[in-house]
């Protein structure tokens, strides 16, 4: 606990109150626990406790063939199965060096950006839910989410656990008319965003609850290895889609929203995500215009033995940099399989952001980090 002197008043004996929030707590976004020490309502110390959803993902993957852990990556960050698939495919494709057909690249971008919409729209819903707006914004968010999940279901057969990517391409082509339906959804999405922004962005309660709460300085964000919208909300212009240009992202024109000269509070994190959705729509429109017919799968076998090598594949997942590190030892199974989960590493600054805030704000700060416990604990 940092040096802290209890607020003392004559005639009043006070002491610190220790509260264990979680693992069963409606605002912890899963099974996460915060051990907080409170002086009245002020958070004096906070200790995150996790591991309640440790599903030994990495260990299981080391005992199965490369392709067999693809469905397990779906269950890491269960909002964004498509980007998880992509990051893993990128890592494995480095090991076996395979050409990816043009149509597959386009579909990968489309799926990835649709996933970003799903994630951000649900996050904003949950975030506002944490603020106390129970219901309406979350219901609006899930209404839009369902439309995109329908598209995923038509393409891959599953709503959430898509398992759609393969090394060298995709599992199957999208059905007939899918691109038109996607275009319809994408064209209608800005109208929903207008409504959502009108409802939330200048809402007085949201402004007063989130502005100046949970400040994260640029220096701390960089030093702690924060990535994704959270880093950009602290004023760093860093997006792996621009840095790495993985896939075919160099062909698309889009902007990276980041909050320049702001403090990096909860409101900035919320706004960065709202703006990012607009840019995703721009990418989707360009990708839907550019996609052409063709094969969707390169010729990779289902079981292969890569030579001894290491590979690291990373994507800009909706929550930050998602990376897969693979060590191949010449067999059909990886020798080491490691996930670099964005939400786990973003969570490390929770304590710094929460100390000195009110206990009710700790809930919002946690919500604005955007964690998913499947990815934190793996």
């Amino acid at each position: 606990m940092p040096n802290y002197e209890l607020i003392q008043q004559d005639g009043l004996e006070t002491s610190l109150l220790e509260v264990s929030m979680g693992p069963h707590h409606p605002s912890t976004h899963g099974v996460f626990r915060m051990d907080v020490k409170l002086d009245g309502e002020t958070v004096v110390d906070l200790k995150p406790v996790f591991g309640y959803l440790h599903r030994n993902h990495e260990k299981l993957a080391e005992a199965m063939s490369y392709l067999a852990s693809m469905p397990f990556t779906d269950r890491l960050d269960y909002f964004n199965s498509m980007t998880n698939n992509w990051a893993y495919a990128l890592a494995a494709e480095q090991l076996i060096e395979i050409e990816i057909p043009e149509r597959a690249e386009y579909l990968r971008v489309i799926m990835s950006e649709l996933t970003r919409l799903v994630n951000h729209v649900s996050l904003v819903g949950f975030f506002v839910n944490d603020l106390g707006a129970l219901g309406t914004p979350l219901l609006y968010a899930f209404r839009e989410r369902e439309k995109i999940l329908d598209l995923f279901e038509q393409a891959s057969g599953a709503r959430m656990m898509c398992n759609y990517f393969r090394f060298g391409g995709l599992r199957c082509d999208v059905p007939e008319g899918w691109l038109d339906r996607t275009r319809e959804v994408v064209d209608r999405f800005p109208k929903f965003l207008d409504e959502y922004e009108k409802l939330l962005c200048e809402n007085e309660i949201i402004l007063s609850r989130t502005q100046g709460v949970g400040n994260l300085s640029k220096e701390l964000a960089i030093n702690a290895g924060i990535t994704g919208p959270m880093l950009r909300a602290s004023g760093v212009n860093y997006d792996i889609r621009k840095v790495d240009n993985y896939g075919i992202y160099d062909r698309f024109k889009f902007r990276v929203p980041y909050s320049k000269g702001k403090v990096g509070d909860c409101y900035d994190r919320f706004m960065v995500r709202m703006l990012e959705m607009r840019e995703s729509i721009e990418i989707l429109k360009q990708a839907l215009d550019g996609i052409e017919a063709g094969p969707i799968m390169g010729n990779a076998g289902k079981v292969f033995k890569p030579a001894k090598a290491e590979a690291y594949g990373r994507v800009e997942a909706p929550k930050g940099e998602l990376g897969f590190y693979l060590v191949a030892d010449g067999t059909t199974q990886p020798y080491r399989y490691r996930v670099r989960p964005p939400s786990f590493i973003n969570l490390t600054v929770l304590q710094d952001m929460c100390i000195g805030q009110q206990v009710a704000d700790a809930v919002i700060i946690l919500g604005s980090i955007d964690i998913v416990l499947g990815e934190v604990d793996r």
């Binding site: 693992p23 069963h24 591991g51 959803l53 030994n56």
Partner: protein
């Protein structure tokens, strides 16, 4: 759902029943009314463990709308909830908490094991840290398979539960006769759970491939 005045358990000839209905009188068993009311207003616990929790939330949103079945009142506190939907992977670290929350729920209470993980460990069954089914520690009423189950499946499992509630007998059901049922909370030792299962609730299945000699020996000693 059958309406109270057609309750089959009360023996009345049709003429008498019709006459009573005209007078605004319904003849039924207390069980029937009680179960009908409870089945139509099950309050689930806001209790998300993993991926399945998202589909559970989705079943409460506008497209699927669980409130059509009277269960939209998700309560964050176990003291106010009737139904625990174990939605997702139960790890060994989490299992004691799940049992503790179950113990805190007032009677009558029910459990839906949602998803492959809660039923049996699912895809993570081979791992070292996943409980191979929550039914080892608490009684489960409805098993809902899928990975994750669709929101429609959540609604169907709720319907199955309502059917089950309709057959409960207030006089003999343990939910009403035994007071609040509590089960021993297992202890997480850092590597495993102690005990490995609750023998009152769950028994390991008989091994069909067990060697025949043991059987003979047992018979001989008997």
């Amino acid at each position: 759902m059958t309406t109270p005045n057609t309750c089959p358990s009360v023996e009345l000839d049709d003429a008498t029943r019709a006459e009573l209905e005209r007078a605004g009188v319904i003849v039924s068993k207390v069980d029937f009314l009680y179960n009908w009311a409870r089945g139509g207003s099950i309050w689930p616990l806001t209790f998300g463990l993993a991926c399945c929790a998202i589909e559970m939330i989705a079943s409460a949103t506008s497209r699927f709308d669980i409130s059509r079945f009277g269960s939209e009142v998700f309560r964050p506190s176990p003291r106010q909830a009737d139904l625990m939907i174990v939605s997702g992977t139960v790890t060994k670290k989490m299992a004691p908490q799940v049992v503790r929350i179950y113990n805190q729920m007032p009677e009558p209470k029910w459990v839906i094991a949602m998803g492959a993980c809660a039923i049996s460990g699912g895809p993570f069954k081979q791992g070292y840290n996943v409980l191979k089914g929550i039914d080892r520690y608490i009684p489960v009423d409805v098993y809902l398979p899928g990975c994750p189950p669709r929101p429609e499946a959540v609604l169907q499992s709720l319907n199955y539960l309502q059917e089950k509630i309709r057959t409960q007998d207030i006089k003999s059901d343990p939910a009403f006769t035994e007071g609040r049922r509590q089960y021993p909370v297992p202890e997480f030792t850092g590597t495993d759970l102690e005990p490995a299962y609750n023998p009152d609730v769950w028994q390991p299945p008989a091994n069909p491939n067990a060697p025949a000699e043991e059987k003979v020996e047992k018979e001989a000693t008997a």
